[in-house]
């Protein structure tokens, strides 16, 4: 008997629908947990965890906590696991776990310790909760589940709530400070400065010939050539007026070697 069922049973009679839902989803939740550990691919691992979290969300709803159940699905599954997945996807598809053990026997030890810990927690909770009946659910949900949580959050636990939010904001700001490279003013060139630098003395502002172009000049006087080296017409636009060079202009300038 698992702890969840103990609590359920202690709360009074378990309705059929509740029991059916539980016995369908509880194995799925366990399967997800085991699958998360067993999966070699990191993304598969995350997906198994999503399954477990979804089942937990439904369990919350089953146990008369609809708000926390929905928040579990929206926040944990919808946002936090999604960010995990985001990072895992960037890691790459083929980064599966290697199966070489660095510590001899660690897997056996981990399984044994995990099972032992689960047994300890399970028996401990079972012994502690055996025979106790849960009370106060109706009183807590008297004015509605959401209203009850809101009242507690903003009256009795307002300080804890605010401190938690301050902690989270500090963590977020800290991550940004660590990851964000702040450029000083002037370190990054603005568009105007880039243009000035481009036309400054010593810099040729025009485009350089593209790769694969072997012409020594971009002048229209240089004849166009096909890839095999033969001369070609049709490299100049038809609308340009034809030039008629005088014989002296057409003669070699003496610049060729």
């Amino acid at each position: 008997m698992t702890t969840a069922q103990t609590v359920l049973a202690a709360g009074g009679a378990v309705s059929t629908g509740e029991a059916v839902t539980f016995w369908i989803l509880a194995p799925l939740a366990l399967l997800g947990a085991i699958g998360m550990v067993w999966a070699r691919n990191a993304v598969h691992s995350a997906l198994w965890l999503v399954l477990t979290m979804l089942c937990l969300g439904v369990f919350y709803v089953l146990q008369a906590g609809p708000f926390i159940g929905m928040v579990q699905i929206i926040v944990y599954t919808g946002a936090i696991m999604m960010l995990f997945l985001f990072v895992l996807m960037l890691v790459g598809r083929d980064s599966s776990d290697s199966l070489i053990e660095t510590l001899r026997g660690q897997r056996v030890a981990a399984v044994a310790l995990g099972l032992g810990f689960a047994a300890l927690i399970g028996t401990g909770l079972f012994r502690a909760l055996e025979g106790t009946s849960a009370v106060g659910l109706d009183a807590a949900n008297a004015n509605g589940n959401v209203q009850g949580i809101a009242k507690l959050l903003f009256t009795k636990y307002v300080f804890a709530f605010e401190v938690t939010s301050a902690l989270l904001i500090t963590a977020a700001v800290g991550a940004m400070v660590l990851a964000h490279v702040e450029r000083r003013k002037g370190e990054r060139l603005s568009q105007v400065e880039q243009m000035k630098a481009r036309f400054a003395p010593g810099n040729y502002p025009g485009p350089k010939p593209g790769p694969g172009v072997f012409a020594t000049s971009s002048s229209v006087a240089t004849p166009g050539r096909l890839p095999d080296g033969t001369l070609t017409d049709g490299v100049h636009s038809q609308i340009l007026p034809t030039r008629e060079l005088t014989s002296s202009e057409a003669a070699p300038k003496g610049t060729e070697k």
Binding site: M70, V71, I74, T77, M82, L85, F86, A200, E244
Partner: protein, 462 residues
């Protein structure tokens, strides 16, 4: 009010017999499929009209069966699965998308209490005290469909599309969730049927001794929330101008580039159902739900708010909102990705938070047993403070921009030469035949006159 008795409350749910539940589930499912088929045609026809084309007009009466034939054809096309695909996840992704899209519709109210085969039941599949959160949860899970599709395809474009969409949808879900907060605060509930109920009547307002009835629709009452919801809904459904996860010009097809046949059909279906869902949620939360708009609702003591009539108003409102989606697609170009994210995080969310704060302040002023004197003092003090801040805010006087001559004079010696401002380009002496008859061109456009010769250009050169 007689018709208020027809309005379902949370207590009316959960008592249906099994065949009625089955009937409602099948009904919602069939309705979504039909509405999707309709919306595809609707979109194509509207976009076509906006582009001065007839649109699909061959299959069926006026081409209205075009999407049905397309839909029938799609599953029979060849299924291509990339070699590098992660088979299980590749198969799972479209299923997640479609399932989430269908599930979200289970809490949308279509109408009041009706009688189906003698059973009195609300015209809504189900409702819970956190129904709107269920819609948000389905939206959150739907991201998995897109992200996993992008990852499992084992190809670059889908991966980029998947990453884009996860960042985009998470960001816009925050804005969307915040825009719901104002509705929850005003309605005092998160159940969809009760939010519709809360918008039934305008609430009387006493402003400066003037009695009038404020409209009940939250689109009017909570206009900033409505606008923010409308914008973030477009971002959440990946529709133009926010369709960056499937930007054709950058990513081919985005997350569904490698999908074909039935799996692609499921993504297509999910996209259109999502569009219908956000329109239906908008109708429910902001536009009074299934209730008739004002002049009609007053006819014959609310006759049109009873029985099966409300389905008509509901679908009319949804279709108007869908038209808005299509209109946006036909009109606006796609945003750049960084502009889009900046808009979400730096505009929508802060504006929303400030609005919620202001709304909470207004609620407090209304709730407390404050007399009118104190109330108006507080409001006056606030207005005065805002005025003072705007008046006394130090303004930055920008340094006067240097004119063109000064800028040119500042250039260091040996700079790249620029042509003089009054440059005239003389015809080349080497082009005799064609150009000699032309007017010489001049910088600035106009034709040169004879008084200013080409000799001028040498003096002004810098």
């Amino acid at each position: 009010m007689t018709f208020l008795a027809q309005s379902p409350t949370l207590q009316d749910f959960g008592h249906d017999v099994w065949w009625l539940v089955l009937l409602k589930v099948v009904g919602v499912f069939a309705m979504l499929l039909l509405l999707t088929l309709f919306t595809i045609n609707y979109e194509r026809k509207v976009v076509a009209r906006m582009a001065q084309r007839p649109g699909p007009n061959q299959v069926g009466p006026n081409g209205w069966l075009q999407s049905l034939t397309d839909g029938l054809k799609l599953p029979f096309k060849e299924e291509i699965i990339p070699l590098t695909a992660d088979k299980v996840v590749y198969f799972l992704a479209p299923v997640i998308s479609a399932v989430c899209a269908f599930t979200a519709f289970s809490v949308i109210p279509f109408g009041p209490m009706v009688s189906i085969f003698g059973e009195r039941t609300p015209l809504q599949l189900t409702d819970t005290s956190v129904a709107v959160l269920l819609v948000l949860a389905c939206g959150g899970m739907a991201i998995y469909g897109i992200v996993l599709a992008g990852w499992a395809s084992g190809s670059t474009y889908p991966l980029l599309g998947g990453l884009r969409s996860s960042a985009q949808m998470i960001s816009y879900e925050v804005a969307m969730g915040l825009s719901f907060v104002a509705v929850f605060m005003t309605a005092g509930t998160m159940s969809t049927s009760e939010i519709v109920r809360a918008q039934a009547n305008g609430n009387p307002v006493n402003l400066l001794g003037l009695e009038f009835t404020a409209p009940g629709w939250y689109a009017v009452l909570l206009l900033p929330s409505f606008i923010i919801y409308a914008i973030s809904a477009v971002g959440e459904t990946n529709r133009a101008p926010f369709d960056l996860p499937e930007a054709e010009s950058e990513l081919v097809g985005g997350f569904h580039t490698e999908y074909s046949s039935f799996k692609f059909a499921m993504f297509f279906l999910a996209e259109y159902i999502n569009m219908i869902t956000v329109s239906a949620v908008c109708t429910t939360l902001f536009l009074g739900g299934w209730r008739a708009p004002w002049p009609i609702s007053a006819i014959n003591d609310g006759m049109f708010n009873q029985g099966w009539w409300p389905m008509l108003w509901f679908f009319a409102k949804v279709l108007v909102l869908l038209f808005g989606f299509i209109w946006l697609r036909a009109t606006l170009p796609r945003l750049r990705y960084d502009q889009f994210m900046r808009f979400g995080w730096k505009v929508l969310i802060p504006v929303n938070l400030v609005w919620i704060l202001a709304l909470a302040g207004i609620k407090t002023l209304q709730n407390k047993a404050t007399d009118d004197g104190t109330r108006y003092t507080i409001i006056g003090a606030l207005i005065l403070a805002v005025l003072l801040i705007t008046l006394l805010w130090p303004s930055r006087t920008p340094a006067p921009a240097p004119n063109l001559e000064e800028q040119l004079a500042r250039r260091p010696k040996g700079s790249y030469p620029v042509p003089p401002l009054d440059l005239q380009v003389p015809p080349s002496p080497r082009t005799r035949r064609d150009v000699a008859e032309r007017q010489p061109a001049m910088a600035g456009g106009g034709a040169a006159t004879d008084e200013t010769g080409p000799a001028n250009s040498d003096e002004k050169e810098v």
